[in-house]
């Protein structure tokens, strides 16, 4: 029962996630190098934030071809939990595990802030411990976090109740205020906000703890 945290060249939130899952929550955690394909013994995998492969071409476009991610597809098919945070969310959309794409913020700024959000769907394990509509505050830090998808995909997300997290005050122009979505099965969550940066009162809040706690909950 261990959380695997993928390390790409250019990841910069991998250690933060480890600090949060292992240090704050006491969850068994280990790093997974991007060339590794052995996911044995892992119950959940986190794709952390950062600038994988320099974010060359598009955010997540090169990371999509990392050996670890070919194993990840089977891992997801077998019901394994995957959490993509920020750059990890971008990678999940490039990989096709989640629909849509993350594009340049509407105001062109790299936004580094703590923002109010609310739980839009508590259908999946990730948000089971929250109340529907519950407000939470999480840090965001991205230049390309504007969620985009076709109207058909948006309707499907709504029909499947897969829009997990929304911004209370849309900071980046995301369609429908979307901050995080899940797949239909509910085992894959992608979100732009950083739950790992909200796991200790000393750092301003603990609203991220329950999301990360869900990594190892049945």
């Amino acid at each position: 029962m261990t959380v695997g945290i993928v390390v790409f060249p250019g990841s910069n939130c991998d250690r933060d996630v480890y600090w949060a899952t292992k240090g704050c929550l006491g969850l068994s955690s280990r790093f997974l190098w991007h060339e590794s394909t052995d996911l044995d013994g892992l119950e959940a995998i986190v794709l952390p934030g950062g600038f994988s492969y320099g974010d060359y071409l598009r955010c997540g476009a090169i990371a999509r071809f990392a050996p670890v991610l070919s194993s990840l597809i089977d891992f997801v098919k077998n019901g394994g939990k995957v959490l993509g945070i920020c750059n990890g969310f971008q990678i999940l959309t490039e990989l096709g595990l989640l629909p849509g794409a993350l594009t340049r913020n509407q105001n062109l700024h790299f936004i580094c802030d703590t923002v109010p959000l609310f739980v839009s769907s508590k259908r999946t394990k990730w948000f089971e411990s929250f109340q529907s509509g519950q407000e939470l505050y999480l840090p965001i830090a991205h230049g390309e976090g504007r969620y985009q998808c076709s109207s058909d995909i948006l309707k499907k997300l709504q029909d499947d109740d897969s829009i997990a997290l929304k911004y209370s005050k849309n900071p980046n122009g995301s369609i429908c205020d979307i901050a995080g979505i899940t797949n239909k099965e509910g085992n894959v969550l992608g979100m732009m906000p950083h739950p790992e940066r909200a796991c200790d009162e000393e750092l301003g809040g603990i609203d991220g703890r329950n999301i990360l706690q869900a990594l190892l909950e049945k």
């Binding site: 071409l57 476009a61 959309t93 629909p99 794409a101 062109l108 985009q148 122009g173």
Partner: protein, 89 residues
């Protein structure tokens, strides 16, 4: 095997907002450029590829454009291919 030159042009779909293009358009107005109705920013990728024939080159370049160079969720792409003139080499 023959060589081919290729240019792939990647642009944001018209339905997707291009904030960088909008900002550049606004700067162009400040420069005094008149009559600018549209300015959208994309990417141009120059490629040289060795392939058995034109069709082979085209097949590979289309795969490359659709699966890596562009993200079809938000971007369109166009491809131009021309044989490298071997008399110059």
């Amino acid at each position: 095997m023959p060589n081919f030159n290729a240019k792939v042009q990647v642009s944001l779909r018209t339905s997707v907002l291009d904030p960088a293009g909008e900002a550049t358009k606004s700067a162009a107005n400040k420069l005094g450029i008149k009559g600018l109705n549209k300015l959208r920013i994309g990417k141009a990728i120059d490629i040289e590829i060795e392939a058995s024939d034109f069709e082979d080159a085209k097949t590979q370049l289309e795969l490359l454009s659709d699966r890596l160079l562009a993200n079809p969720v938000i971007e369109d792409w166009t491809l131009e291919i021309s044989p490298v003139d071997s008399s110059n080499t």
